[in-house]
Amino acid sequence: MYIGAVRRLYPLGRFVINLLMIEIKNIKKAFGDKTVINDVSTVFKTGKCNLIIGTSGSGKTVMMKCLVGLFEPDSGEISYDGQNFSEMNEEHRKNLRQSIGMLFQGSALFDSMTVEQNILFPLDMFTKNTPAQKLERVNAVLDRVNLQGVNDKFPGEISGGMKKRVGIARAIVLNPRYLFCDEPNSGLDPQTSLLIDKLIKEITIEYNITTVINTHDMNSVMEIGDHIMYMYQGIKEWEGTNKEIIFSKNKLLNDFIFASEFLRDAKDMRMLEAEGKIDKGDIDELLK
């Protein structure tokens, strides 16, 4: 009986899951004569790390700013869970924005506030919880991003990696449904970059949120790129997963991703492995 009920409810569940996403259709944005985004359409799925990659000036940041409403697209449609963002009134947008968290390139922490006050700020502004409940939530998110004992420090007193974690903690403190990260690894060492990537990935799965990440970092592409959109001069040049990127024949994408000889060699080895010409043992042997 239960199996029958589950089977009957399954299409409804799939329908709801499909609604929980960000969809963009034919977005265009120009500044004066310069077209920065030209007719881009894609879907950013829930529970996945959706990456926007591309060279500097390819339109990634403008795309993200259009997505969160900091820029208005000239034409096209942006839908959050089936609701057209472009047609929402200011009040509706404000409500939606409370379910959006964003990690900025420079973390954008409030300089005059301590770490604790930075994370408390959205709670103070939008919730009616008691001070004790708010503090409990702040400590919970700080624990989640593996930061302890920094509550009373100011942003100027902590490292770049810690600032990013505080930025993530602030972004998730209101339990957002969407998380946007603009260059989360910029200015960080490779090890800290990996930790931040891992954290974003874990949070995406744990909270089942739609995460959109703007990045240049190839480690991020390979590690957490569930869905990758490559932009070139304002257009969507390629779209796929981190598994597919290895085997892509797109020249522009390959020139961008595998720019160094080391990465080109790594790609060649993976392709040879996939074609069965060498096995993983050979690769490991070569790497030794």
Partner: protein, 245 residues
């Protein structure tokens, strides 16, 4: 950017402030913080300027009144009216345009450049309302108070200078203070203070909020905000004097 474009953007920025606050308590907290920053933060410089302004007025008035037919108490009368009508509202507000105006412009400019304003916008907060309105309101509340304090300190400075230099006795100064006093002058000074307070908070807020670029632009915006505020204060001073006196 043409004058009309800039003026239009200024009006739009002001219009954008008037929305329902997301959380009244947080806005009140920010308003009180700004009152403290602008009021207490500027009290020292206002006090120093006012005392010396009054003292110098006494000395210079005495220097110019050489006729033995004019009673000494007239010096106090002139000092009183000069301080109330012009020195306290205008001079103090010009100094505050530098102190408060540059602070507002650079604070907002820095928030814009470091994406803190974008962060607030994405949280669903009307940044014009949350960042500019409390500053503007605090200025309009606190700056007239500073002007009143300046008037008192300016007159006291004049009295002190008159006594210390032996130009006129405290009794003669006090007698002069009471002669031909027009309460309308205080009303005029307050009208000027409110107008100037609005100018020296809204103009720098506009330039700071709309900064584009990096730290160099923050400096430029800050300088421009102070220069434009000072010019507008002087212009408004002339218009108000022509209309109200």
């Amino acid at each position: 950017m043409s004058f009309f474009t800039e003026f239009g953007l200024y009006l739009l920025t002001l219009k954008g402030m008037f929305t329902k606050p997301e959380n009244g308590k947080m806005y009140w907290k920010e308003f009180m913080h700004q009152c403290s920053e602008i009021g207490i933060g500027s009290l020292g410089i206002v006090a120093i300027i006012s005392v010396f302004m009054g003292a110098v007025s006494t000395l210079q008035t005495a220097y110019q009144l050489v006729s033995p037919f004019i009673p000494l108490s007239t010096i106090a009368q002139i000092v009183r009216d000069t301080v109330i009508l012009e020195f306290s509202p205008t001079l103090v507000c010009i100094v505050l345009a530098g102190v408060v105006g540059s602070k507002i412009a650079s604070e907002l400019g820095n928030m814009r450049v470091s994406e803190q304003i974008d962060a607030l916008e994405i949280m669903g907060i009307n940044t014009k309302s949350y960042l500019i309105f409390p500053k503007l309101l605090a200025s309009v509340v606190v700056i007239p108070m500073l002007v009143v304090i300046s008037m008192v300190l300016g007159i006291m400075g004049g009295r002190l200078a008159g006594t210390l230099t032996g130009i006129l006795s405290p009794a003669a100064f006090d007698r002069g203070l009471h002669q031909y006093f027009k309460p309308y002058n205080v009303f005029f000074a307050m009208a000027k203070s409110y107008t100037f307070a609005f100018i020296i908070s809204s103009v720098p807020a506009f330039y700071g909020y709309n900064v584009e670029g990096g730290s160099l632009e923050i400096g430029r915006a800050s300088t421009k905000a102070v220069v434009v505020s000072c010019i507008l204060v002087l212009f408004a001073d002339y218009i108000l004097s022509a209309v109200l006196l």
